[in-house]
């Protein structure tokens, strides 16, 4: 402590706030209408996804059992019939009846059995694959979003400088088809340079357990997929943030903040970037479905044992129960991610809570 410490006001200025803060503080507002609207939307989307899911296999030619029979010759016709009723594919029931049955099974958490995986329950098969996808793709996407948004903010702030050249480069990387980028990465870094293993989540002969060796293997195997995802998706976030920054930096409150003599850092992050990031979060929520679709390709290229690979295998083998289950889980995770993004948005932008409430 030095003697010349300035006299600080006893209360923090942020805590006291402005007159508007005191006006709002009076009533504790829970934005019921806003919450109800979002809840209704998510319930509707859930219903739509489940209904699509119900109809998809019923519109398709060729059923799973005949596919299964063509692969396993020594199955008796009685066994085939038993399989059909086990899978809910017996067609003597009316469609509506089937639909009600389907909901009943769903609510009990019963997604049927997978023909492709030796009649194991679909939930079990998916729950083995899900952590790999969520871990790798979730991590890579968040990293990409963070780098892209922060980078876009800086590029927008230093408008007209050499940093502007970054935007065309990242956009170019984003227009390259992802699977090609992944295959090239394997060709260069795995085959020719030998830095990373080719595909799979961990080495042959390893057992999934919490040991340092296994975790090291997972990181070693996951680096290439994660880096390619980041490279491929960085461009969109960067361009979006930079464009929003250019618009926001022209606003009067940024000029006022500068005129007040606030340090540049504070103007950049607390004033400009905080407002520019709002549309970013909205488009993050909306692009989650797209990102999840991209993981299918990633998992195919790197033969990563996630849900995307399950879906592809199930589609090729016409294993409807597994296919439906995977689609349902993918849609559910997209919805959950959307809800999280909504909550984050409501926290960051008080206007969503106030104007709609």
């Amino acid at each position: 402590m030095t003697a010349v410490q300035p006299q600080m006001p006893t209360q923090d200025a942020l805590e006291v706030g402005t007159t508007a803060t005191t006006a709002v503080k009076g009533r504790s507002r829970i934005p019921w209408r806003f919450l109800a609207g979002r809840a209704a939307f998510y319930l509707f989307t859930l219903w739509a996804a489940i209904t699509i899911n119900f109809f998809l296999p019923r519109m398709m030619k060729g059923d799973a059992v005949s596919q299964y029979l063509s692969r396993n010759r020594n199955v008796s016709p009685e066994a085939a019939d038993a399989l059909r009723s086990l899978l809910g594919l017996d067609t003597d029931k009316a469609l509506l009846h089937q639909y009600v049955d389907y909901w009943g099974l769903l609510l009990r958490g019963d997604l049927g059995v997978s023909l492709l995986h030796g009649l194991r329950p679909v939930t079990e098969v998916i729950s083995q694959a899900l952590p790999w996808t969520v871990g790798l793709v979730g991590f890579a996407t968040l990293v990409s979003f963070a780098i892209g948004t922060i980078g876009g903010g800086i590029v927008g702030w230093r408008r007209g400088s050499r940093l502007d050249g970054l935007i065309p480069v990242t956009t170019f990387l984003a227009t390259i088809p992802y699977f090609w980028l992944g295959l090239l990465a394997i060709a260069v870094f795995s085959v020719n340079l030998g830095w990373f293993p080719i595909g799979k989540a961990y080495g042959v002969g390893m057992r999934p357990e919490w040991t340092a060796e296994f975790i090291g293997q997972v990181i070693h195997h996951g680096t290439l997929p994660a880096v390619t995802i980041v490279i491929a998706s960085l461009g969109g976030w960067m361009l979006g943030m930079r464009n929003m920054m250019l618009t926001v930096l022209d606003e009067d409150y940024v000029m006022v903040a500068q005129a007040k003599g606030l340090p540049n850092k504070r103007v950049l992050w607390r004033y400009a970037a905080r407002n520019a990031v709002l549309p970013q979060i909205q488009s993050f929520a909306l692009s989650i479905g797209f990102i999840v679709g991209g993981t299918i390709v990633m998992e195919m290229v790197f033969s990563y044992p996630g849900v995307g690979k399950l879906l592809l295998d199930a589609t090729n083998a016409k294993d409807y129960a597994l296919m439906q289950g995977v689609f349902l889980v993918i849609t559910l995770s997209v919805l959950v991610a959307n809800i999280l993004a909504d909550i984050a948005y409501a926290f960051l932008d008080p206007r969503t809570r106030q104007t709609e409430a």
């Binding site: 739509a48 408008r159 227009t175 088809p177 090609w180 909306l286 390709v297 879906l311 592809l312 997209v334």
Partner: protein, 338 residues
């Protein structure tokens, strides 16, 4: 400095002009293409035009048939006879790439046309109407945005044994319209309250005229942007699906070539002439389309262009845009600008 910025900003703003009366056909044609009249868009259009020409003239340009097997020349690196080498069956890679352009261009444009029509109808109607009808159309759009597209396409595409290009385009179009509809709805909602629309309504103009004659011209840039975006998405979708092998297409496209190259281990054996050209072609067409979109973006929001130019101009005079201290400029530079 403050006043300086203000006048410039005012010049940026009027991007949406009400249509001028008595426009000749030529002038109207010119103004509807105004969004493409900048260097970025023109470069993009030129690259795109090149690929369209290649697709049309494939029969003339390709030196061989894409499926002509030549067992004497397997996996040849590029040579005088085969400019881009050959595949594992001795097929000419260049010819495959040239013929592959067709599928890509046809599906890309068909899908984008379908998606844009749906997006315009749903977006403009949802933006113009109010109340529950607008809300339910918006909810429908959001459902299509949220439901993951690629898994759905894979499942639907696997319903067909050998789907024709039109079906693939339709599936890609039906799953790809939501983003455009969302953007158009927002813009229509903001247009609805502008003076010239209010005036048209007060004049008693019929609904189809308000939407068709007053609103659509002002939405053209956004419609074009969403069209271009959908073409990109459809091309990436088509090549991805072909690569995955969900669409066993008998006509070649770039994704099919990559599927073969990958299945035959071209990536592990460094047969770069086989897998580099199709990937670079997809990237080139993607770059062309995003250049067009950059151009449209800067037309819709001139700040995107002028912000950089303004900052560069200020730096030349020794000022920094982000300098919080307002510098007193010498009088000469102010006169130069005026």
């Amino acid at each position: 400095m403050t006043t300086d910025l203000r006048t410039e900003r005012a010049a940026d703003l009027p991007t949406v002009r009400p249509p001028r009366p008595r426009a000749t056909f030529r002038a109207r044609l010119g103004s509807s293409f105004a969004m493409f009249r900048n260097r970025k868009s023109i470069t993009g259009l030129a690259i795109l035009g090149f690929f369209v020409l290649v697709a049309i003239l494939a029969d003339v340009l390709a030196p061989y048939s894409p499926t002509k097997v030549d067992s004497a020349a397997r996996l040849q690196p590029p040579s005088v006879e085969h400019w881009l080498g050959t595949t594992h069956l001795g097929e000419d890679v260049l010819s495959q790439v040239i013929y592959g352009t067709r599928g890509v261009i046809v599906v890309g444009f068909l899908a984008a046309i379908m998606a844009t029509i749906i997006a315009v109808v749903v977006g403009v109607v949802a933006g113009y109407l109010r109340g529950w009808r607008s809300e339910s159309l918006s909810a429908l759009t959001n459902v299509f945005l949220v439901i993951p597209g690629l898994p759905l396409i894979i499942i639907v595409a696997s319903m067909f044994d050998n789907p024709p290009l039109v079906v693939i385009a339709a599936v890609l179009g039906l799953t790809g319209w939501a983003w455009g509809a969302r953007v158009l709805r927002a813009q229509t909602m903001s247009l609805r309250n502008r003076d010239f629309i209010q005036a048209a309504r007060a004049n008693g103009e019929p609904l189809h005229r308000i939407i068709g004659k007053e609103m659509l011209p002002n939405l053209m840039a956004l419609i074009a942007a969403s069209f271009v975006g959908t073409v990109t998405a459809a091309i990436l979708g088509l090549t991805t699906l072909s690569y995955i092998g969900v669409i066993p297409v008998n006509t070649y496209n770039w994704g099919t070539i990559l599927n073969w190259a990958s299945a035959q281990g071209a990536f592990r054996q460094n047969q770069w002439w086989w897998f580099m050209p199709p990937g670079l072609c997809i990237a080139a067409i993607g770059v062309a389309l995003s250049l067009i979109n950059f151009g449209i973006d800067e037309y819709v929001n001139p700040r995107l262009r002028s912000a950089g130019e303004r900052a560069r101009a200020m730096r030349k005079r020794g000022l920094d845009v982000n300098d919080p201290v307002t510098a007193v400029r010498p009088a000469t530079s102010a006169q130069e600008r005026a």
